[in-house]
Amino acid sequence: MAGQFINLLASILLLLAFAMLSQRRIKLLVSLFMIQGLTLFTNTIVIASTTGQAHLYYSALLTLSLKVVILPWILFRMIRQLNVEWDVETLINIPSTMLAGIAIVIVSFNLALPISHLAGTITRGTIGIAMACVLLSLLMMITRSKAISQVIGFLSMENGLFFAATSTTYGMPMVVELGVALDVLVGVLILGVFFFQIREKFESLDLKHLEKKEE
């Protein structure tokens, strides 16, 4: 029963990853990221209750507070202040990106096969999805040109990693998890400062302004 539920949540995560890949409005992107965090939280709670791993409750709480409340709040505020609603046209058009995404999912399922055989967890079927989430987020970072959507891609990649960790080994040690969470938080804060600096300097957040090489 629990296994079925976890598989459902995993497929929701994959769906969300594709949704993020195709979404061009930044506000909605953040909402999607929030839902992703929520799904991750539910998933962790379910795993914790079925396996009785107490520390997973803590990481679930951490996920909830950080990825559902704090980070989206920061991002929304940033969007409001920077006044960026839309990402410009992506480098590769969205249908082709989706096709590439499907190819990536196939590749990652194949790649995950040997790992799932090794893992002894109830969630081992979802490792392929976790890996696909990571790679899809990376793909999203490649195809976007606004700095802020890249940061969201980076955060959702971290979500994928977290998911991969919970599904292979029931999560990383608490210390590592705390460290990663803090890193992400600090990273976003610093990047926020950078955004303001970039906009002040170039009056736009488009990355192409940063691409002039210093000879």
Partner: protein, 657 residues
């Protein structure tokens, strides 16, 4: 409480670092930094010299600093004490001079003060180091601090370029040294290296790496290219420090490796050092003769002197390989003596060029001249330095060159017939170098200080201030005293040769210097000076007595000189022309001759180093092509970099699977 000399020296080095930081903090108060910090640094130099002079035996010290489980080891023995003495004595003169020299550096005085004093401390630690780790750390600190000193005026593109070349060569040398320490049997402390037994192949490999590494710092051919670029770029006290002292640390390192760390000696190593040294010396002398920038001229002259030092070192190594230790001691004494002398006279000359540069703003010999009238102090001390470097008795340059030639005279005793035949040729080439050095100094001194000022503004040149005079006076009196009393130095050097070779020169007479025995050859600088003075005074009096008052003044014949001006004097290019003619194949000469109808004719000739063309430019070309290739990958677009990550990740995952 009994303080060991080594502790005093380490304390002095730490004091230098502290002084540097104080200078940095008080960078706004130029007067304070100049007249308090630099003189204190000079005093610390004197402390170093004195403690090194009075140290006996081997002292070691282990500091608490360093990596965990790898503390820094210090060691003071006769060899390092001698080089520390050179350092301390030169620092006293140069720091006193700097106290006056940097008065115009209002902006940078803080950073200059820091870099300068860190440079001093780093050199001290290089000489004191007793493990590879401390040695490399101080070696690199020395290279970096001197790099920043060279690029003090970094706003000028040419100086940045010179700094880059210097840094490049310094790093090539450092890599080679690192490999050398790695090839010493995996040991890290010098003590363990002394006990390592390497096979002939391994030892040769290690020796060649050390020769390359130290040669790059010393300015050995063909690694000398940074010297003529870096010296003109650096402020003059820095040039003096680099040429007078820093080059010696490389010599120190080579001696340490050759006579102390490597347990075996192959005869052809000595021949290699000797041959390279000879080429370096000849090359340096010839090139300095054709320079028209006074600091470049001195830089090439440093190359020449390092060549002479290497010749002595090579000779000593040859003697030692054949177990002729007393002769090896003679050659080594000559080598070390020359190091000491060079520290004095080259520092002195660089400081003199600094004063000239400050007073006139010119480095180009073609625009100087007649400065003896306005700057008598500088001119007279420069005269002493020039005579000393040209190797004229009774000054110090003569003593070391004479000792070296004495050592050459004993080479027929070598049990190797080819060497017996080749080495006299080397001696002849060395003498040629000495003559060329004399020629160069006549050119340097004559063009800068004698004759008429070639430019109008030179008539307003101001002489050096008090601090500068103190520094110049210290160094020039050093040149005289080291020349007049070689006995003290040679007696002191007995400790070094005892330590390295287990042999010493026969105890010298205070009046007569006789390296092996008084029947063969002896030299008494004091008698020589008395006779010279006597002859000079006699001639002067005779001329005054018999000829004076019979000078007729009449209108000259005016043949071809109806209007006489300063431009008609011999120029530096003109003076160097014979050398350029004779050694033509050495140079790549670019000449620009004016057309006969030009109303404002300009002539320029540039003599360049062929080694650049043959050795360095091909490498630079390869590096550039590689860089171009990588530049294509390096697009500078964030998305492209992400794409690289992505593709690499996918490929790696596929491979791992």
């Amino acid at each position: 409480m009994n303080v060991q000399p080594i502790e005093l020296i380490i304390l002095a080095a730490v004091l230098w670092i502290v002084l540097g930081l104080v200078g940095l903090a008080a960078g706004k108060h130029v007067g304070f930094v100049r007249s308090i910090v630099f003189p204190l640094g000079a005093a610390a130099g004197l402390v170093v010299a004195a403690s090194a002079y009075f140290s006996t035996g081997i002292e070691t010290e282990i500091s608490l600093l360093g990596l965990p489980d790898l503390p820094f080891h210090f060691r003071l023995d006769a060899l390092s004490a001698f080089f520390l003495m050179i350092l301390g004595l030169a620092v006293f003169g140069i720091s006193s001079y700097s106290a006056g020299y940097f008065r115009n550096e209002k902006e940078h005085i803080g950073t200059i003060c820091l870099e300068y004093h860190v440079f001093l401390a780093a050199m001290t630690f290089v000489i004191l180091a007793d493990d590879a780790f401390l040695f490399m750390v101080s070696w690199e600190a020395m290279a970096l601090s001197s790099y920043f000193l060279v690029t003090t005026d970094h706003r000028i593109a040419e100086i940045r370029r010179a700094g880059f070349i210097y840094l490049l060569m310094a790093h090539l040398g450092a890599i080679s040294l690192l490999l050398f320490f790695g090839s010493m049997g995996g040991n890290y402390s010098f003590d363990a290296m002394r006990g390592t037994h390497l096979s002939g192949m391994q030892a040769t490999f290690a020796f060649l790496l050390a020769l390359f590494g130290f040669g790059a710092k010393a300015g050995m051919l063909p690694l000398h290219v940074w010297l003529p670029e870096a010296h003109p770029a650096a402020p003059s006290p820095v040039s003096a420090m680099m040429s007078g002292v820093m080059l010696k640390t490389a010599v120190y390192g080579l001696i340490r490796v050759l006579f102390d760390l490597l347990h075996l000696q192959l005869w052809w190593w000595g021949v290699l050092i000797l041959a390279i040294g000879l080429l370096t010396a000849l090359f340096g002398a010839v090139f300095s003769a054709v320079q028209s920038d006074m600091k470049r001229l001195l830089a090439y002259s440093s190359v020449e002197n390092i060549g002479i030092v290497f010749v002595g070192l090579g000779l000593s190594a040859i003697f030692r390989a054949y177990a002729m230790n007393s002769l090896a001691a003679l050659a080594l004494v000559a080598t070390l003596y020359h190091c000491l002398n060079h520290a004095f006279f080259k520092s002195l000359l660089f400081l003199c060029t600094g004063s000239v540069l400050h007073a006139t703003g010119e480095r180009n010999l073609g625009k100087l001249g007649g400065l003896i009238h306005n700057m008598p102090w500088v001119a007279w001390t420069a005269l002493i330095g020039s005579l000393a470097i040209a190797g004229l008795p009774p000054l110090n340059g003569f003593v070391s060159e004479w000792l070296l030639l004495q050592a050459f005279l004993f080479t027929p005793g070598l049990p190797h017939s080819y060497l017996n035949m080749m080495i006299p040729v080397a001696a002849a080439a060395l003498v040629l170098t000495g003559a060329a050095a004399g020629y160069v100094m006549v050119k340097f001194y004559g063009i800068v200080f004698l004759g008429q000022p070639r430019e109008e503004k030179l008539r307003e040149a101001k002489s050096a201030g008090g601090w500068e005079r103190a520094g110049l006076l210290w160094l020039s009196s050093g040149c005289i005293l080291l020349g007049l009393f070689p006995f003290f130095v040679i007696d002191h050097l007995a400790g070094v040769t005892d330590f390295l070779l287990g042999s010493r020169l026969p105890s010298a007479d205070w009046l007569f210097l006789a390296p092996i025995s008084s029947e063969r050859a002896s030299y008494s600088p004091i008698l020589f000076m008395i006779v010279t003075l006597f002859a000079t005074v006699l001639v002067f009096l005779l001329v005054r007595r018999f000829y004076h008052g019979r000078v007729r003044r009449a209108m000259p014949w005016n043949c071809g000189y109806p209007v006489w001006n300063a431009r008609m004097q011999d120029t530096s290019e003109g003076f160097g022309q014979p050398i350029r003619q004779i050694f033509d194949p050495f140079f790549r000469i670019g000449r620009e001759l004016p057309s006969p109808f030009d109303t404002a004719p300009k002539y320029s000739a540039k003599s360049e180093d062929r080694i650049w063309l043959w050795l360095y430019l091909p490498f630079a070309g390869i590096a550039e092509r590689l860089a171009d290739f990588f530049g294509k990958i390096q697009q500078g677009r964030i998305l492209v970099y992400l794409m690289y990550n992505f593709v690499t990740l996918i490929i790696l995952l596929l491979i791992v699977q």
